[in-house]
């Protein structure tokens, strides 16, 4: 009887902890909404999203330059990362001998473990001077090196491991029969990859990209260190920008002193979590389908 009781108590406790963990993402969103709703009573949602006026002391909270900053940096990062990750994961899944893969995969995993501050430091030490002294003069742009481009490159490197490891898995779920059929009709390896494997794995690759996107979208520290943090709507990749996560991180001091700022920043965090929520749910559902089909 005692054992049965232990069983009952243990399983109920585990259920409670599980329910808590599973609902955590909703708890976070709700708490942020609670805190953020105060600013919504004073400023209209339209002004918050599409006004460029960020004057917290006057009660004007326009997120537009920050949203644009985030979109520019993230979009640039994806433009850089997508082709590199696609080719790398095709190489790892289709071409690389297993020995080479055994060396490269742990290195890619290692890349995922590097803290964002170290990425940012590398950006400050290498990327920023490189852009200031070589790249910008080359194309005739004027910048001190802290710009959207620096943020985009750092972010791209940060999402490499996510996109590569997920899409490599996806490529490997494509069944070998399909490849053999393609070889049998005389296709080269690359033709097989291009017409058969890629077609089959395309949704999964998109899902991997979306996962990378949602990681890049909210990345804070590394971007904050190299992007310049000037609240303006960027018009070129050599402009400075000020992404939303960086705004939250930098406004800590003001949070305590100026009324409504904390509420506005909580709302900014809510925007981040909503966007990430939509994108990652979509990506995960696609991946889950692929996993089911492969089994």
């Amino acid at each position: 009887m005692n054992r049965k009781l232990t069983e009952l108590i243990a399983s109920k406790l585990m259920l409670i902890v599980t329910v808590f963990s599973v609902s955590l993402v909703f708890i976070i969103a709700f708490a942020l909404f609670q805190r953020g709703s105060r600013v919504l009573m004073q400023v209209s949602l339209y002004d918050l999203l599409f006004s460029s006026a960020w004057y917290p002391t006057r009660g004007e909270f326009g997120f537009y330059p920050f949203i644009m900053g985030t979109l520019w940096v993230t979009a640039l990062a994806m433009v850089i990362a997508i082709p590199i990750c696609l080719l790398s994961s095709i190489y790892l899944a289709e071409y690389a001998p297993s020995k080479v893969r055994g060396i490269i995969k742990p290195l890619v995993d290692l890349l995922a473990g590097i803290p964002s501050v170290v990425y940012g430091l590398w950006g400050v030490l290498v990327l920023v001077p490189f852009i200031r002294n070589y790249l910008a003069p080359l194309v005739g742009a004027k910048t001190n090196g802290y710009c959207i481009l620096a943020g985009g490159i750092v972010l791209a490197i940060m999402v490499f491991p996510i996109i590569i490891s997920v899409s490599e898995e996806v490529f490997r779920t494509v069944s070998n029969e399909l490849r053999e059929v393609s070889f049998a009709v005389g296709a080269t390896k690359w033709q097989t990859v291009k017409h058969v494997v890629m077609r089959k794995a395309f949704p999964g690759f998109i899902a991997a990209v979306i996962l990378g996107f949602s990681r890049a979208f909210g990345e804070t520290m590394a971007v904050l260190m190299v992007v310049g943090n000037v609240p303006q709507v960027p018009s070129s990749i050599f402009d400075q920008g000020y992404p939303l996560p960086a705004l939250i991180a930098n406004s800590y001091g003001e949070m305590m002193s100026i009324p409504l700022v904390d509420s506005a920043l909580m709302l900014a965090a809510l925007i981040l979590i909503l966007v990430v929520f939509l994108f990652s749910v979509a990506a995960r559902i696609v991946l889950l389908r692929i996993e089911r089909r492969a089994m």
């Binding site: 259920l15 955590l24 609670q34 590199i84 290692l110 803290p115 520290m221 991180a249 800590y252």
Partner: protein, 282 residues
Amino acid sequence: MDRRKLEEAIFKGLMFCSIFLVVGSLLTIIGVVLIKGLPALSIQMLTQIPQGGYYLGKEGGILNAIVGSLYLAGGATALAFVISLPVALYIEEYAGRSKLADFARLSLDVLWSVPSIVFGAFGFAIMTFLGMRASLLGGIVTVALLILPIMVRAMDEVVRMISFELKESSYALGATKFETVVKVVVRQALPGILTAVLLAFGRGIGDAASVLFTAGYTDRIPSSLFDPVATLPLAILFQLGTPFPEVQNRAYASAVVLTVIILTLSIVSRLLTKKLTKYVVR
């Protein structure tokens, strides 16, 4: 015929370039940090807390941040472990292939994607609600939530791999589900669980955005859970932000410390997995 071969060759070349870029960026990041940081690293950096005028280039070290980071990441990992293990076991062994298990995995994956600055903001919101100041405890709870999904999903993967026969034999001997889970499943999954813990610890010790609001910063080593605590990532950020080259050099040295910790964790977890999996029944 030739065109097809040419296309193959071109794309193969591009693939090599891509892989080279990916691996190369990893190596330059680690290389640059080591080259810049190692000359600035000294025993004093590792064994002293900042003295007066440290941020102007005077005496001292970053012991406060090293110890603070270890406290914070250690506490967060312990807390996250206590929550994660039951969750992973429940999802896998109790919920099985039900809708709840699918939903739980999806929800945890979404939580994994949530930016760390959002965790920081959430932690800050909860702490102001409770009237708490930035403290070790606040940081531990926030980072624990941040690494929770990483840990659960990593444990979930290993628990799933345990053979059905093993569990069946345990049931055949009359063990209850909980006894089976604790005495068979956990023991079998131990190497994987350890890897998950190390992975989460590494993520916790490297994250800056979540502790910015919640853990504060101090030049002292915290003596209670309610003291603010310094962390290595923030030490790097703040030292880099000063206009003095000597202090910036210390930021590079701090980055070496952090990077070495992360690399060691990753290597140890790899070795451990290899060593411990020898005793796992397949």
